[in-house]
């Protein structure tokens, strides 16, 4: 039952809400100029899209700059824009929260390579990103360079493909898991 033909356009229309007066957007624009690709504030959620090569710098700025002070990573997620026919295909979405300002912010970035998406890990900036990055890798196949332990988290080792990609059929079946030997690579350990 892989998505039958949808009606309606396959695009996200331009968001009407302007973001000119948001201090965080202004700060990002001042610092990164045209590396800030898009901004919008749909339904009050202030959002900026940063070019992948400045992603880490932007995250660091958002956390450390006293005007931003987003000290809490609420969530990190990915999504696949394949059926919207947009490129680059993948987008990684961060939801940040600032305790001192009681404000939320959404930062997005797009790993450029569609076939082998790669992005910098931000685990050293936000330790909370550890498992979510593993999940994004698991579900979308985006590799995070610098991640301390990048392996599948919800799916098992040996799962073929990345299930939340839009070209992964909803009802696809997986081959049987082959029996694995437990590696005896921990000498001195009592089992």
């Amino acid at each position: 039952m892989d998505s039958p033909a949808r009606s309606g356009p396959h695009t996200l229309t331009a968001m009407p809400e302007p973001t000119h007066d948001d201090p965080t957007i202004a700060r990002l624009r001042a610092e990164f100029g045209d590396a800030v690709l898009e901004t919008h504030a749909h339904r009050g959620d202030v959002t900026a899209v940063i070019r992948a090569d400045r992603y880490r710098d932007a995250v660091r700025l958002l956390r450390d700059d006293p005007e931003c002070d987003y000290d809490f990573l609420t969530d990190l997620a990915g999504w696949d824009r394949l059926k919207l026919r947009q490129t680059p295909r993948f987008e990684v979405v961060l939801h940040l929260y600032s305790l001192s300002r009681n404000a939320r912010f959404r930062l997005k970035t797009r790993p450029e390579d569609n076939a082998e998406p790669v992005l910098d890990s931000i685990v050293d900036i936000y330790p909370a990103a550890n498992w979510p990055e593993r999940e994004v890798y698991d579900m979308f196949g985006i590799r995070f360079t610098g991640h301390p332990n990048l392996k599948r988290i919800l799916m098992y080792e040996g799962f073929e493909g990345h299930p939340l990609r839009k070209d992964y059929p909803f009802n696809k079946r997986q081959p049987r898991v082959v029996e694995r030997e437990i590696p005896d690579d921990r000498p001195g350990m009592i089992f």
Binding site: P9, T13, M15, N149, R152, L154, F170, R186, G188, I190
Partner: protein, 464 residues
């Protein structure tokens, strides 16, 4: 906020301690112990691989995913309104709160607001769910430490509330009670009075448990200074809810970013001091009392009026819906071919009557009626298939509410069709389990059970 080291969690890299202790001539070796995925003292399927030095936990690796059921992928394949049954199964101890959060997300996409009465119904039922969740957590943690009596008392207390939830929603766990722009049904007659009486009984059971546990020497010895996490660690690892509050951080979405009608309720946010298991127990006990306070205030404030709104946010009654259908607004009906889907198994008349209210304003007719007679078809059509289900405008939103375990969030992307393009669920447990190895390393192996109990992992929302 300090940046901490990354949790060292790759088993293969574990340094094996074969060095001689300086104070003794005996050498020690780490022992590898699997707890889970199926273990009598672990409520929920999760695997914790422990490296032990005697009884002390040297290192821990937490493996999740045993209850993964593709919630996010499933959400992309059905209409917006059809996701509710899946959200029931996220945190299955307090499903109403998941329902409410998801509905709030779709309403934010549509920019509609439920009616006053509906907001109150949602808050009252959410707080009842929060109490049942905390009751379960405290009961299970106490039982795992050998205290069987409080478990029975608290389960009895939970039963008072579950009976009311059953009466309200038609089911105990998989309730699917909330609808986009409303709820399934109004309170049954006399429900709020019965709730008030039930809350008295719950408070009495809690008093008994309070006497049995809070100053109990054994209980305190097992919990105090065990499973400690610092405020900074908890904050930087994405902790929310009672675990974060137990470290002394008064963060509560109902207070900080009040949604629904929480800004009209007077309540306190209990916090702990050191962030150990005992603090978490105390925070949960106090939160239940605060929830009772909230429910009683909301019961006094609740206005009358409709509980459903239409797509443009206007109140809508069932009679109006039926009138619209009678006036012939069914042109699309003739152009549509109905193809029964194999996933509709179980939506037959017999099971529908057993689990749903017969109120046509809010309840889908059984499939025999939908495909068998025009009244059933119209009823179904107007509830679900108008146009192509509920069409949200293109856009993306993030919505969060305070679930019993912390911040439950949904990130939703809509492309303007009748389905979600992407639904991401931010389960509070996911972030709690990510930091659990920090809480158990250095403690004894028996403390793992105590800590695991007060963390209150719910595999349903952890693995989705």
């Amino acid at each position: 906020m300090t940046v901490m080291d990354i949790p060292h969690s790759d088993i293969a890299d574990w340094a094996v301690d074969t060095t001689l202790r300086s104070d003794t001539t005996l050498s020690t070796r780490a022992m590898l112990l699997n707890m889970g995925p199926s273990h009598p003292a672990m409520h929920g399927v999760i695997r914790i691989v422990l490296a032990l030095d005697g009884e002390r936990v040297e290192d821990a690796d937490i493996e999740i995913g045993y209850l993964h059921r593709a919630f996010e992928k499933e959400s992309e394949t059905v209409g917006w309104g059809q996701v509710f049954p899946y959200t029931d199964r996220l945190n299955y101890v307090s499903p109403i709160i998941n329902n409410v959060c998801y509905a709030m997300g779709v309403e934010k996409l549509l920019d509609i607001h439920p009616t006053e009465r509906c907001e109150y119904i949602r808050v009252i039922s959410s707080e009842v769910s929060r109490i049942t969740d905390h009751l379960t957590c405290v009961a299970a943690s106490a039982m795992e430490l050998g205290a069987m009596t409080p478990f029975i008392y608290l389960m009895k207390a939970r039963e008072y509330l579950y009976e009311l939830i059953e009466e309200l929603t038609g089911a105990r766990l998989t309730i699917s009670y909330v609808r986009i722009g409303g709820v399934k049904a109004d309170f049954p007659p006399g429900w709020l009075e019965r709730l008030d009486k039930a809350l008295d009984l719950v408070l009495r059971e809690m008093e008994d448990v309070d006497v049995l546990l809070t100053r109990n020497r054994i209980f305190i010895d097992r919990l105090k200074d065990v499973g400690v996490i610092s405020k900074e660690d908890a904050w930087s690892l994405g902790f929310t809810g009672p675990l974060l509050r137990s470290t002394g951080m008064p963060r509560d979405l109902r207070k900080d970013e009040p949604y629904s009608i929480y800004d009209r309720l007077d309540f306190d946010v209990p916090v702990g001091t050191v962030g150990d298991n005992y603090d978490r127990y105390l925070v949960r006990m106090e939160e239940m009392r605060q929830s009772v306070r909230m429910i009683r205030q909301a019961s006094r404030q609740i206005p009358g009026g409709p509980v459903q709104v239409d797509m443009s946010g206007r109140p809508l009654t069932g009679a109006q819906m039926v009138d619209a259908a009678k006036m012939g607004m069914t042109a699309d009906l003739l152009l549509r071919t109905v193809r029964p889907d194999p996933t509709l198994d179980g939506a037959d008349k017999k099971s529908a009557q057993a689990i749903r209210t017969a109120d046509r304003r809010v309840s889908l007719p059984p499939k025999e009626d939908t495909y068998g007679n025009i009244e059933g078809l119209m009823n179904h059509f107007m509830l679900i298939m108008e146009g192509e289900g509920i069409k949200t405008p293109p856009g993306e939103i993030y919505i969060a509410n305070e679930a019993p375990n912390g911040e439950l969030g949904f990130y939703m992307v809509s492309d303007g069709s009748g389905r979600a393009y992407r639904v991401r669920c931010r389960p509070p447990c996911f972030y709690l389990m990510q930091g659990m190895d920090r809480m158990i390393i250095g403690d004894m192996i028996a403390d793992v059970i105590a800590t695991f109990g007060t963390v209150n992992m719910i595999a349903g929302e952890l693995d989705r």
